[in-house]
Symmetry: C2
Subunit: 412 residues, 2 copies
């Protein structure tokens, strides 16, 4: 009989307990042993719960119970999750988690402790909810060099951008709708400013490229500046605006960024709508592989947690290859050294002057149109240009017109 | 040092050797041991190959070499692959294979021998080429009840259908193009008659539902009857024609079918084009998850074979849960008892008569239009109707008009 504990009884925690007991018979078949939840840690009172006798409020009970071999951490956030998980691993218990912030900030350190203690630290649920991605990526890696990963990793922002594209809703109304439907939190900042997607691409990039990519070293832009005008111009471009988190190998380093982007309609990513997520993995042998599904939600995320529990229960000893090393900030390329195509929207008194200056800087421009275009408005897509040069060019172009928005054009 | 053998040095076999040696260092890191290919079995002469000293023509050398622990079978077909694989497993060697025919016809028997001998029989490469699907499905299963699987599992037919939809090419020209590009074999029958897709859905259904689904019990229709007219009507319907292989749980049984189908453009499957494959897995906890990528090709398939080799090398003892039992034909539901919506195209002298008869049989009809529609031609989509009743109705409708084609309308 294997005893486990679940820390946190919020949305994912209660889902984990639900999925666990619903599938207990098949789980035990897969493990080849009996298994049960011994403790559920939560500071709140759940005396009415059918599992009321399992609830505890004192973390040390789990830490010091040698019978508990596997702990699911579904509290979220860094404090106290980081402290708890670190102590558990140091005490020789395997931990599975859905906590993307924890893995993105502390993954290398926790994986190292897990390896030293010969236990497992698994985190399938931290990216893509119920989409199997961590483990397939890990398996892909064995016979592939991963060149690039690009994902729509945040369901809230994808819902907002879908509403804006399909119904012409403006950003703030689309956000309100997302909140009303429970897709966005009351404080939606981590979603709309890109921080959530950033954590997730850090986890994927760390695994794919073998060294920790820290969120603070990733250039991250959210979607708050995306306007209905941009959405309309993107339709003329022939695509959709998506919040894309991407990471690419650059010799011994990695380039990583989170930004709203024009995605051509010929890309599978352009048709990923509503709260769905998709992750494109570009391997040298497999080519492009895409994983698609609901990136959040109680049961999808819980099912990923339970899958990890099962694998942790089946494995003896630590997974040697589901691992990455720590790194310095030198591991990430300064985004200013990268090159991209850019969409630029501006207002100006003399269009032909602005466009001729822009052509001097950025090569042939793909001029875009929209209905209801204002007489003094223009928008175009540049050729590929270095980020730093582009920013400097923008300052000089600003003499001739007011740049209203800039969005990268990515080719996935 | 782990010694392995590769049987078959065709497209996938030579790719397997290539991917193996290209990634040898990272493979050995993952396994935590040295590994090498000791033998390559092929009846042809490869004395110019850099691996010429490894080539053998006598299978018994591999069978009787106790140093060889893992064998990759990439010969294809049932004979001699079945005989070889069976003997290898019985002799206590693990086998990994890309051979869909072998797994679809003999999977239950071979998995049983593998379990008895405590070795592994893996087949990630048999479905979806380089798309990780067998193992993610297997992991999904632990915390999910799989309700349904639907896939575009054959790249050749998907290429043909894409050409027909995008360029108005007719079936035989599109097939010729596929052959010229090497996407279709000189004898394309197993692709275009659905047999290849049938084998693959049998493997996925067997794994998902726990009992062997045999190809002979699966109602299988190919795409040879699909015409440019059908493609045009499908555009008016708002979707695309795809060859869909699907399996659905029906209480203690499974319903499985391979058929061309109208797929609404709101479905992710409708935008899977060219030689790409996609597999939708509908789980009770995860919801819909889709796996997308190149379903064939030398390196994608080889990378899946090599991934399996790595896992076989890391595992001690057989995988207990990557398994299904044998079954009788009673495990599959007779397709005649199922219900579906149908697209019907017919020519007739009296349209209103035909349509009123059709409405009596099949409820409200969604009448479709196309450019260049002939005066005596009509096409529509029915409501959901039992397959057997529909077939009988078609016979009576035929008194009023000639039915030119029938295609199911599936909702994925």
């Amino acid at each position: 009989m294997i005893k486990i504990a679940v820390m946190g009884y919020g949305v994912v925690g209660s889902g984990t307990v639900e999925v666990f007991y619903k599938n207990l018979k098949s789980i035990e078949q897969k493990i080849g042993d009996d298994i049960d939840i011994k403790y559920i840690l939560d500071l709140r009172d759940f005396s009415d719960s059918p599992y009321s006798e399992k609830f505890i409020k004192d973390f040390d009970i789990i830490l010091n119970d040698s019978e508990v071999k596997i702990v699911a951490e579904v509290i979220g956030g860094l404090d106290p999750a980081y402290r708890y998980v670190k102590s558990l691993l140091q005490n020789g218990k395997s931990v599975v988690t859905s906590n993307k912030e924890l893995v993105a900030e502390k993954g290398a350190e926790l994986l190292k402790i897990a390896r030293e203690k010969n236990v497992n630290f698994f985190f399938e649920a931290s990216v893509g909810g119920g989409i199997p991605i961590i483990r397939p990526l890990h398996h892909c890696l064995s016979a592939n060099e991963i060149d690039e990963i690009a994902g729509i990793l945040n369901g809230t922002t994808n819902y907002i951008l879908t509403k804006m594209a399909e119904e012409g809703t403006d950003f703030s109304d689309a956000l309100s709708q997302a909140q009303a439907l429970g897709y966005a939190e009351r404080d939606p900042s981590a979603d709309i400013n890109g921080a959530d997607a950033c954590r997730k691409i850090c986890i994927l990039a760390s695994l794919a490229f073998g060294k920790h990519v820290y969120p603070k070293n990733v250039h991250t832009e959210g979607i708050t500046a995306v306007s209905t005008e941009d959405v309309q111009y993107c339709k003329d471009f022939g695509g959709a605006i998506k919040l894309v988190a991407w990471a690419r190998k650059e010799e011994e380093k990695v380039a990583v960024m989170v930004c709203p982007a024009f995605i051509s309609e010929s890309s599978q990513l352009s048709t990923v709508n509503d709260v769905y997520n998709a992750i494109l993995v570009r391997g040298d042998a497999t080519g492009d592989v895409i994983f698609y599904g609901k990136g959040a939600g109680k049961l999808p995320t819980a099912s990923a947690v339970v899958s990890d529990i099962i694998i942790a229960a089946k494995m003896t000893g630590t997974s040697k290859s589901l691992y990455w090393e720590d790194s310095s900030e030198l591991f990430t390329v300064d985004y200013k050294s990268l090159s991209n195509k850019f969409y630029v929207r501006l207002v100006c008194s003399d269009k032909s002057k602005v466009l001729s200056e822009a052509e001097k800087c950025w090569g042939n421009l793909n001029i875009l149109r929209r209905n209801d275009e204002l007489p003094n408005e223009t928008a175009f897509v540049t050729e590929s240009v270095n980020e730093e040069k582009f920013a400097a060019d923008c300052r000089s172009i600003s003499e001739y017109g007011e740049i209203k928005n800039i969005i990268r054009v990515l080719d996935y």
